[in-house]
């Protein structure tokens, strides 16, 4: 049984936004359009946070891909009234779209603001609907959704491994964001395997986790040259 974790190398990330586009395509995210985005309802499972540091004369801008960090102690799961979000055995925080009542308590409780809400019935303009990914369900209006570490790809890889009667290999599961990243800044892997790339990166002196002080035990590691 794997415990999925992710490492994102901020020193490699250029802030190009490919991961966002790939994620949209892969997971059938609704295209909300400019008016909705202006209403502060941008719809992404992974988005780029812009962090400005330093004084105005020496401002350094840095981009940080932010997604659901799949906490081991998830604040959202604790507050859900209907068990529509849960922690799977493999450490991925899942969403049960058909059970969610849309109270948005999990969104209010998430310190990472990783969840998005379908304010209207999702739409895929033009060709997008025909190009939808058959492995990922369509959501309805009024439910909460978020990044699942491309869980369908995890399942695929596991079935493949089972068919070939072997264990999952490190690096076999590549989520859409990692696949599309030109800088290869994103890696998914098994944190329980001390030899995996993710575990190695997580042990790096450059590694840190977002809001570690909150005790949510996230499984997404950022890597950055420390001062």
């Amino acid at each position: 049984m794997a415990r999925w974790g992710m490492a994102i190398d901020l020193d490699r990330c250029t802030g190009c936004g490919n991961c966002m586009a790939a994620c949209h395509q892969e997971n059938n995210l609704t295209a909300v359009g400019p008016e909705e985005t202006d209403q502060s309802r941008a719809f992404h499972w992974i988005r780029l946070l812009r962090e400005v540091s330093g004084s105005e004369a020496h401002a350094a801008v840095r981009y940080k891909p932010a997604l659901c960090v799949q906490c081991d102690d998830p604040p959202c799961v604790k507050v859900c009234p209907v068990h529509a979000t849960y922690l799977s055995e493999e450490g991925i925080v899942g969403q049960i779209y058909s059970r969610c009542i849309g109270c948005r308590y999990c969104m209010a409780a998430c310190p990472y603001n990783a969840k998005v809400f379908n304010w209207y019935e999702p739409e895929w303009p033009g060709e997008l609907k025909r190009k939808a990914n058959p492995d990922v369900s369509f959501r309805s209006h009024g439910v909460v959704e978020k990044c699942t570490f491309c869980h369908h790809r995890v399942n695929h890889a596991r079935e493949q491994a089972r068919a070939e009667d072997r264990e999952l290999r490190d690096g076999e599961v590549v989520p859409a964001c990692a696949e599309s990243c030109p800088a290869r800044a994103i890696v998914l892997g098994n944190l329980d395997d001390p030899e995996s790339t993710v575990s190695t990166l997580a042990r790096s002196p450059r590694a840190f986790r977002p809001h570690e002080d909150l005790g949510t035990r996230p499984k997404v590691f950022y890597l950055e040259e420390q001062e």
């Binding site: 507050v79 009234p81 529509a84 409780a109 809001h211």
Partner: protein, 458 residues
Amino acid sequence: MSSERAKVRPSTSHDLSEQDIDALLRSVEQPGSAFRVVTTLLILIILGCWVLFSRQILRGLGVTGLNQPVGWGFYIVNFVFFIGISHAGTLISAILRLSNAEWRRPITRMAEVITVVVLAIGAFHPVLDLGRPDRMLNIFTAGRLQSPLLWDVSSISAYFMASTVYLYMPMIPDIALLRDRGARPRWLYSFLAWNWQNTPRQREVLERAVNIMMILVIPIAVSVHTVISYIFAMTLQPGWHSTIFGPYFVVGAIFSGIAALMVLMIVLRRVFHLERYLKEIHFSHLSKLLLVMSLLWFYFTFSEYLTAFFGNEPAEMRVFFYKFTGPYATLFWGMVVCNFLIPVVLLSFRRTRTIPGIMVASIAIVIGMWLERLNIVVPSLANPRLAYPSGFYVPSLVEWAMFVGGLATFALGFVLFARLFPLISVWELREGQEIAVAETAERVESYLPDPVPKGETA
């Protein structure tokens, strides 16, 4: 139905005259045309609001002003606000009954009605706020008792049950009075009167039942707003994650509740000419309670913000400055003026503690407490911990409509109640006039030093 009700005590000079009873039952027995006009108007307003709300039912929550990160807005603010108002009633009436405060008699009924009406409105708000209200019953089929929302569902249901029963039981003798006077519809009053014949046995049972309910209702009422505060306090969000929230919300709830009760009492006193029953003295007593609550509210608010400010945590400070100097400054300082400055100035001096002064203070507090709920819900959501631009929130027409609709439903509930039942408890007034004077004298005597025993010299 027989109208031969066993008179227990010979009537005294203190007894309520027929005129009094006529005056107290006027709203039921002679509603007049004004009642029809007001009811029609209110129903039209409420229907209009539902018509606007239908857009949300058809298209989804997008028609509101909610967004990411501000996922909760007017619906939740009004939910907390209305449930807060509901704490006036039952709690005050229970505490006054429990402490044998004789001046409670004309007040308790109205207070209890507020609770039941507002609680029903408030409890409906989370349903308006759901993305998929059609799946509401998942709360029962797949509910997680670990979720503070479920604590809420439990305690609000318990409170609604308890306060409805607590409103109804002391009404039974009055309903029987209406039954005996032949009020229409007869079937309604004879059904609701439960064959009350005012026998000593029935009175004993009723008194015991009311006593049990009043003890029961106090912890339930306290639990309700505590649990509502837990919805916020159990998260890790800056500005919410605070241990003081339980008592802070309860104090705010009682505070806004008393203010709402005062506004209603003043209005109904004018409308139904109840000046002889709701006297200056009642308002004076209640306004002192209000003043104490105002100071208590300020104490909690001061502690809450001073702690945040002194600790100087970056995430907390973003919320703090968002309220103190940022986009919410007007609303925040407006809240301080309405909840603290105006009431303290008006209620501290005898010259301004008159009915108009109390009215102004009470309206200010109702507005101020609504602002307080807004100040708690939105700024914390608008300032996430991440390097995220501050959110904004502008309520849409639909949300304003539901707010107006909630207020109109509240008014309608009250008008309908006044049409069907007496707003002031007739039998309790009567009891007060028959036995309470003697009882109180006896009680006061029991507080005095005992007489010198025989055989000793003073």
